[in-house]
Point group: C2
Amino acid sequence: MAMPDFSRPQPALPADDSDRLLRLRQLFPISGPDLTAWPRVPMPVLCTASILFTDLRGFTRLTERFAHDPAGLLEVLNAHLKKVLRSISICGGVVEKFVGDGVMATFGASGDEADHVGRAMAAAIGLIGANEALNRRSAADWGFRLDVGVGIASGDVVVGAVGSADRSELGVLGDAVNVAARLVTQAGPGEVLMTGTVYRAMEAMLQSELTSQSAVRGRSGRLEIYRMSLLGGRGDLA
Amino acid sequence: MAMPDFSRPQPALPADDSDRLLRLRQLFPISGPDLTAWPRVPMPVLCTASILFTDLRGFTRLTERFAHDPAGLLEVLNAHLKKVLRSISICGGVVEKFVGDGVMATFGASGDEADHVGRAMAAAIGLIGANEALNRRSAADWGFRLDVGVGIASGDVVVGAVGSADRSELGVLGDAVNVAARLVTQAGPGEVLMTGTVYRAMEAMLQSELTSQSAVRGRSGRLEIYRMSLLGGRGDLA
């Protein structure tokens, strides 16, 4: 394959945008820590944790609506994320990274092993409630609602440095991470999708107290899924 | 809902693991920069970029195989990621974050606008080739192969600070990000899945030079997808 002509300059961005982009990149350096001592980076740790993903439903449509107002888009998104971050933090979770319009958080993958399933569930319920309060306050002004879905899975994960000496992050790897990431894509507005492991750890508490709960058992592949609807519910699994 | 009993201590991790976990967390602090001056953070920037995702096929099975050897698992993963990072870096891309066993990289979202589609495609071809070289050298020792898939999409994205003053990252948001993330999940071993926009920008170059190319047109929803197989190919879109 002929190499593309990398030398061809295409200064597409206005100078002002270009300058702002540079300052944003400087504010958020992405190289990670200096790991020239990479061989001395601590070995990875295997631990049992709960993984929580959030995702805004219909955010792509919102992106189109704000196509010419990126600042307005991020203002709305950050108002939502602030609620999400706070709910997770209150319950002792760690926001590992932002994933598009949502986050990936872990409970029990930082040394605090106390009841990580309960903490994750409390964070999910808290963030859906806080987001609903945000809707009640702002949806009329905005002209639209922000609807959030949550996926939770529990299991063994590996916590360790991923990447190379030049560019690294702390990675959390394992089936529970993949499953929670898949669950969140199927969660409807105000819903928490969870694995059987998570559901059984929380079952008594959810059924006795959460009157709007409609946990439904389903299967996706070999995966046992329970759905909890906190905003009235959409019924069974699709 | 009764709050879970957060006070109940469950010191599940051996002291040695717990200490290592703490050191890993200290090495990779995740709060982001101090944004107490958040209102003065530069406004987000709208730019046209190419987004590349990589993903290892069958890594979940590998995770199970290494269930009791997390260090071995990360050693194999990092050998692969080193090739991926290097190929992206050579072509001028920025690795925004690690996503499970893969990465999300951008081309043209850091001020360097020159031919971002060509750069992304060159990085994809480069990393699949470098990974194949890694397989030739190590697969026999390992007892398994590492197979990588790539997804590429191009379009307008918003680059800006997401999160809150306490916890923030530089976010890259837009339809192209979502599409590329979806494409990579469908890419087979040694395959690059791309949108019509990406394909048409590269068409002449790919068809004339890449003899093992088998770009196939398909549709997933309203999305026009082209598939390029660099390792012999698996035929049409599923």
